[in-house]
Structure formats: structure tokens, C-alpha cells
């Protein structure tokens, strides 16, 4: 527990020590807080005031109003909940399926590796957006469908990264030592190798978050995301583009928030990769975490 807390503290300190990653972290924390607290904030993303449709930014409506007179700022904040929850759930699905696949493929090799990685190749061969749209066509249009679609398209990333990491650790002494002491394959995979593979996986989680947010927005932009009136950044971009002449802020401001969110995830992902790489280089390996 202490080790986990220490690692978290170390990571946060590392991120806060860099201006770019500190700013990105601050932005994301603000966004997550707003998304969590949107129900108690004095804003209503659903309230229509048709007489106030397409009004520009003002003290009352910071981001202006949409075609139904709804507050765009409130909808952007609520849209953060949609995007982040979709991305979070999708990453969980991708990790929950991709990591075990990568572990098994890398650990056992042979026919298991061949079968599993060809399956992953098939998933990789499918364009993510096309696959997600086909899946939504079958499952119907809902946030859950978007989560599943985005989650499945993320499986190959986790599987390949985990497999690569397992292959590099599989023949290391601490792994063979566990086997020599009679540790089962399951024990070795999940208690010996996996704890030493978290670094690239953690970076992948952050990177996939930005990819998932972008994919969810793309699906909504194409009209197969969450159904109105639930706010979604992609849906706002889709509708807002029709009003680019009359109300440019309608599409631009949600687009800016979407851009900064993805940028923040990417900056943090890069910072994490650098931090963990430095740590890895300093310690030679993370084998001290092994518990045979």
C-alpha cells in the first residue's frame, strides 16, 4: 500500500515538476471535477430558451447559446462527463481484455501466441471508426454501444504492448526463479510479470484515453454517438458546423475544449513515458517488485 502511495506521489511530483504536464494535469483535474459536480453547479445543459437561440458569449452564457437557446458552457461541461465516462469505460474494457491476451500470448508463445495475435491482427486491420460504426449499427445508438465499440478497438494496443513487455521479461532470471520454485503459470503471469509491466501499460492507458475521447467525438460527429439531448462534444461540433456563419463560437468553443483535453492527455502520456523510462534506466529494471 505504502509502495503504491509512494509511486503515485512520485509520479505526481514528477508531472508537477514540468510546466507543460503540470498545466495539463491542472486542466484535466478541473475538467473531471466539473464533470463530476455538474449536477450541483448552477448551470442547466438541458434548459431551452428558444427566444435566446444562437446568442453570442455573454456574462450569463459564457460560451453563448445553441440553436435551442441552451447554455453551451453548461453543455460543454456536461459533455465532458459523456466523453470522459465513455473514454474511461472503454479503456477499462480494452485493458481488461487486451492485457490478459498479451500476457497469455507472450508467456506461452507457440500456437496460443499465433492464434491470439492473428486475432489481434484482424482487429488492427479494421479501421477503428468503421468497426465502431458497424458495431453501433448492430447494437443500436447508445452510450453503452459507443463504450463497447471504442473499447474493442483499443484491445490490440494493450495486447501488443503487454505481449512485447512479457517477451522481454519472460526469460529473465526472476521469472525463471519463480518457475523453479514451483510457481504456476498464472502466478507467474499475474504476480511476477504483470507488476513489472505497468509502466508501458500506464502510458498506454493515458494515450488510449485521448484516442477514445477522439473516437467518441468522431462517432458523435458522424451522428452515431449518444442521442440528443444528452450533450456530447462531437454532437456539438456536428450541429455547430451548420451554424459556422451565424454562430462560429458554437462549434469552435467545444472544439477548443476537445483539443485541449486530448492535448493534455498526450502531454501527460509523454511526461509519464519519460519519467518511467528515466526510473527504469536508474534502477536497471523493476525486478525489485518481484515477490517470488
Amino acid at each position: 500500500m505504502n509502495r503504491a502511495l509512494n509511486s503515485t506521489y512520485w509520479l505526481l511530483s514528477g508531472l508537477m515538476s514540468r510546466v507543460a504536464s503540470a498545466a495539463a494535469l491542472f486542466f484535466l483535474l478541473t475538467l473531471v471535477s466539473a464533470a463530476l459536480l455538474v449536477d450541483v453547479l448552477p448551470i442547466d445543459p438541458f434548459a431551452q430558451r428558444l427566444v435566446d437561440a444562437l446568442k453570442g458569449p455573454s456574462a450569463t452564457n459564457w460560451f453563448g447559446t445553441d440553436e435551442l437557446g441552451r447554455d453551451i458552457f453548461a453543455r460543454v461541461v456536461y459533455g465532458a462527463r459523456t466523453s470522459l465516462s465513455t473514454a474511461g469505460a472503454a479503456v477499462i474494457i480494452a485493458a481488461a481484455l487486451g492485457i490478459p491476451i498479451g500476457l497469455v500470448a507472450g508467456f506461452f508463445g507457440g500456437w496460443r501466441d499465433t492464434v491470439l495475435m492473428r486475432f489481434i491482427d484482424v482487429l488492427l486491420a479494421l479501421p477503428a471508426i468503421l468497426f465502431a460504426m458497424a458495431l453501433i449499427a448492430v447494437l443500436g445508438r447508445s452510450q453503452m454501444a459507443a463504450v463497447i465499440a471504442v473499447g474493442i478497438t483499443g484491445i490490440p494496443n494493450f495486447a501488443r504492448i503487454t505481449r512485447a513487455r512479457v517477451l522481454s521479461l519472460r526469460k529473465r532470471d526472476f521469472v525463471t526463479a519463480v518457475e523453479a520454485f514451483g510457481g504456476s503459470s498464472g502466478y507467474n503471469m499475474f504476480r511476477t510479470i504483470l507488476p513489472n509491466s505497468w509502466s508501458p501499460i500506464l502510458v498506454q492507458v493515458v494515450v488510449l484515453c485521448s484516442v477514445a475521447i477522439l473516437l467518441e467525438a468522431a462517432l458523435a460527429f458522424l451522428g452515431v454517438g449518444v442521442a440528443p439531448p444528452t450533450p456530447s462534444w462531437g454532437e456539438m461540433l456536428r450541429t455547430g458546423k451548420s451554424y459556422l456563419y451565424e454562430a462560429p463560437y458554437y462549434a469552435v468553443l467545444p472544439g477548443v475544449v476537445l483539443t485541449f483535453t486530448i492535448l493534455s492527455f498526450d502531454v501527460i502520456g509523454r511526461a509519464l513515458a519519460t519519467l518511467l523510462e528515466d526510473r527504469h534506466d536508474a534502477s536497471g529494471a523493476e525486478i525489485e517488485r518481484t515477490t517470488p
Partner: protein
Amino acid sequence: MKNAFLRPIRLLGVLLAVAAAPAFLAAMPARAQAEQLQGGTLRVAVLADMTNFDPMQFSTVNFPLIKNLYDSLIEYTPEGEAVASLATAWTVADDNMSVSVTLRDDVKFHSGAALTSADVAATLAKAADPEKGKNVYATMAIVKDWVTPDDRTVVINFKAPTPDRQMLDLLQFVMPIEAAGIDTVETVPAGTGPYTFDSRAVGQSIVLKANADYWREGEPTIGELRFTIFSDDASASAALESGGMDMVYGGTARSAVRLKDAGYQLIRGPGPLVQVFRINATQAPFDNAKFRQAFNYLLDREGILRVGYAGLGQPVALPWAPAGPAFDSSYTENYAFNLDKARELIAESGLSQAEMEDWKLLVYSTDAASVTISQIVQAALADLDVNIELDLREGSEYVEAQLSGDYKATFGGVGNIQKFPSRVATNSIYRTANNPVLKDPHPFPDYVAAIERVNTTLGSVEEVKAAYDNLNKVLVESSFAIPTNSYDIGLIVASPKLSGFTLDIDNLLVARTIGFKE
């Protein structure tokens, strides 16, 4: 002193005359202006590819082509007056049981064959075929049979005494197809229209060329008509503004208003559609009359018109255009947006909360206006503590659901609202038989009887009005379809260099008189 006083007044008069000259010129007869128009290539931006060349398939995507490839037997002026076209004369029998139509003798099809009564007879046979008649089939319901005494004459017999206006509507709806080309008309146009088909790149463009043998003297003005298909309204508007297109046909009202403000010509036809909230009254909770009637009051017609259609149209509570013979503005006033009244009716319905919320509003997600106005209804219901979801469907998925009646409620436009009132029954939700939504037997016999009464009332003005009033009353009480507003279809936004527009009663594109100003 007197001259000194008058001099500035004379000067002012001269200045006013100079200033008024453009307005005077603009008010000159259209014919005079048309004579100065130049030909060339007219580049028209449209937002969807055509489906086929059959003039009986009145899908909006075919609107740009139909009146350029075909001619009607008669035409209506924008004021609704019947004028000759392929038919030079039409004589209604004294008993209103038949109409004799005389055809022009100088009309040729694009193939070079002359138009004869046999072609009209073949066209009527197609129209009367339930499989091939498409949108004209319902109009043929009043027709018993037809005969062709000679090459120039067609006599159409009706099943019962038929009002003159209903006969004229039929003649205006019939566009003769060459008999030899009837079976292949979906892929090969076979009309007499001012343009002939030249080429098509599916999903990209369609090119028509001027018909050298066209029977209207001096028409068409434009030598080549080139349609370019754009994927969205904004791109089409941008192409017009950049000079890449001369005209946008069928764009959104919002873009049209913006372009008009930017100096482009906005031409609105006399044939709007009416947006109708269609209700499947055979299914719960809409089998409850009070629940249905509540929607007469909870639809914010003014808001729907303003937000969905940029204010281009009028709020209506009946499925008629304001110029339609059965239109009654008092209904719009009596059924204005009133959430308290809607709440009362919902309470009187006796439905439980779960029953009231056990449905989804089907939405045509490709149509931005439908998505927007559906959310207005959703919000109004939420104000009454009735929370429903939207069921958004794309293209063919939506059309299939709408035409098969697989929905509880949805918005959809209806046409023919400026013609004889019973023509409303050509729209699927208003059909009195074979209704895909309400099925057979029709669950509202009063409505069927009201349509029948309109069809058979040939008496005095008062009697006719009484029949119309009865139909209006039944429509509102049955509430299986609740109109919200009229709106423009086939809007034309054109470059200022174009002139000579001819307005079609159904808002189809008529390009034969359009030309470039010198």
C-alpha cells in the same frame, strides 16, 4: 421667388425619378425581361442525388429533374389558376362524371416520336397500377376509366361526380410518358420536357441539354443544365458564394435567409409543405384520445418554425397551406402553445406515468430540422414531467420505419396542401385506405367520412365550406396527425445575375425560363 422655391423641388423630382428607375425596371413584365436573358450553362447545386427518372415518384430528391424532363397536361399559376400546357383545352361534363382533354399537336418526345392520346392513356394506366403508380396512384382513386376517341383527345371518366378542382389536380399531376418507354422510365427518361438527359456521374453530377424540338417557343433559354451534388448545405452555399455555382436548389431555410441577407436572390415557391407530428393512434399510449389531443397544445409552433425553419413559413394547426381552400386561421389561434391545457388533457387521459413514457419519438437524424424540433417536443413533454427518449435513425432506416408505420410518433412533412383538400389523403398518414400507420379498417371512420363528404360535395359555396369545416373539426379531434407549420421545400437561392424564374405549384425546379442577365 416662386422659381427659386420650385427649383429645388424640380431637382428633387429628377433625383427621385433617377432613383426610382431601377424599381420601375424591376416591375416591368417578366416577358420583357426574359427577352433580354442569355443562355449558357446553368450550374445548380443540389443536396442529394436523384433516385430515378420516373415522374410519378415525387421524391424530393427528384424535384430538380421532373419538370425539366417532363411536362404536365396542365399547369397551375402560383395563384392556383389552371393554364394550358400539353393540353390545350379540357371540358368538364355537365354531370361532373368526366373530363375531355385535348392535346397539343406539335409536341414531340425526346425520342422524336409525336405525343398522342395513346401515350396519355399508357401513362394513366401506369398511374392506376398499385405497383407502378407510385405517388400518383392515390390521386387515381377517383378515376373509373378512360378512352381515346382520337389521337388528340382523352376522355377520363370518374367513379362519381367529381369537383372541378379535383379533376384539375389530376390533370396537373399527370406528366405523359412515352408509351414505348413506360417500362424503362426509371432508368431512361421518356418525356417531352425542355431538357433531355445527357449524362450522369452517380453521386456527383447530372447534366441535361436543351431540347432542340421543344414545343414552347423560345424556350429553354439555358443550353446546358448541370446539377452538382453536394454532401451538405454549407458546402453548397460556399460554392455559390465562391462563384462555383449559379444556384442552390433545395437548401435549408437558414442558409437561404443568410444568403439573402448577403445579396443573393431567394425565390420561394407557392407549394410549401406542412410539418406534421404523426401519431400511431393504434398503439399505446396514443390509442388514448385525450393524450393525443394534448399534443395540439404542447407543440410550440412558433418556436418550431423559428428554430427549425428560420421563420420561413407559418404556424398552422391544420394540414393546409394558408392559400389552401380549407385553411382556417382560427384553428391556429385556438390551438396555440398552452402547456397548462396540455397538462389538463394529460391528466384527463388517466394514463400512468409509466404508460405515458412508454414510447420513443422517431427522428430522421439526417434532417437537422427534424432533430431540432423533436428536441423542442421532448423538452415540452419534460416540462409536463413526461420524459421520453429520441430514436434517431439514418436515411433508409428511417424511411422504412416511417413508410411501414413502425413508430409511435414522428415528424414528417406532407404535401399537396394547397390543392383540393382531399388530396391530403395522398400522404401516408392521411390515407383513408391502405394506411401504413393506422392500418385497415381505418380507426377513425369520421375522418374517412369527412374526406368522402369533401369529395362528393358539389353544391353551393356554403355546402362546400360546411364540408371543409367538418373535415377540419374531425382532423383536430382525432389528432392522429398534428400539423405545426408550413415550410418551404425546393427553396431557390440564386446569383443576382440570374432571372426569369417560373414558380411551380409543387415547388419543383422549372429551369426552362431561367437565363443570365445581360
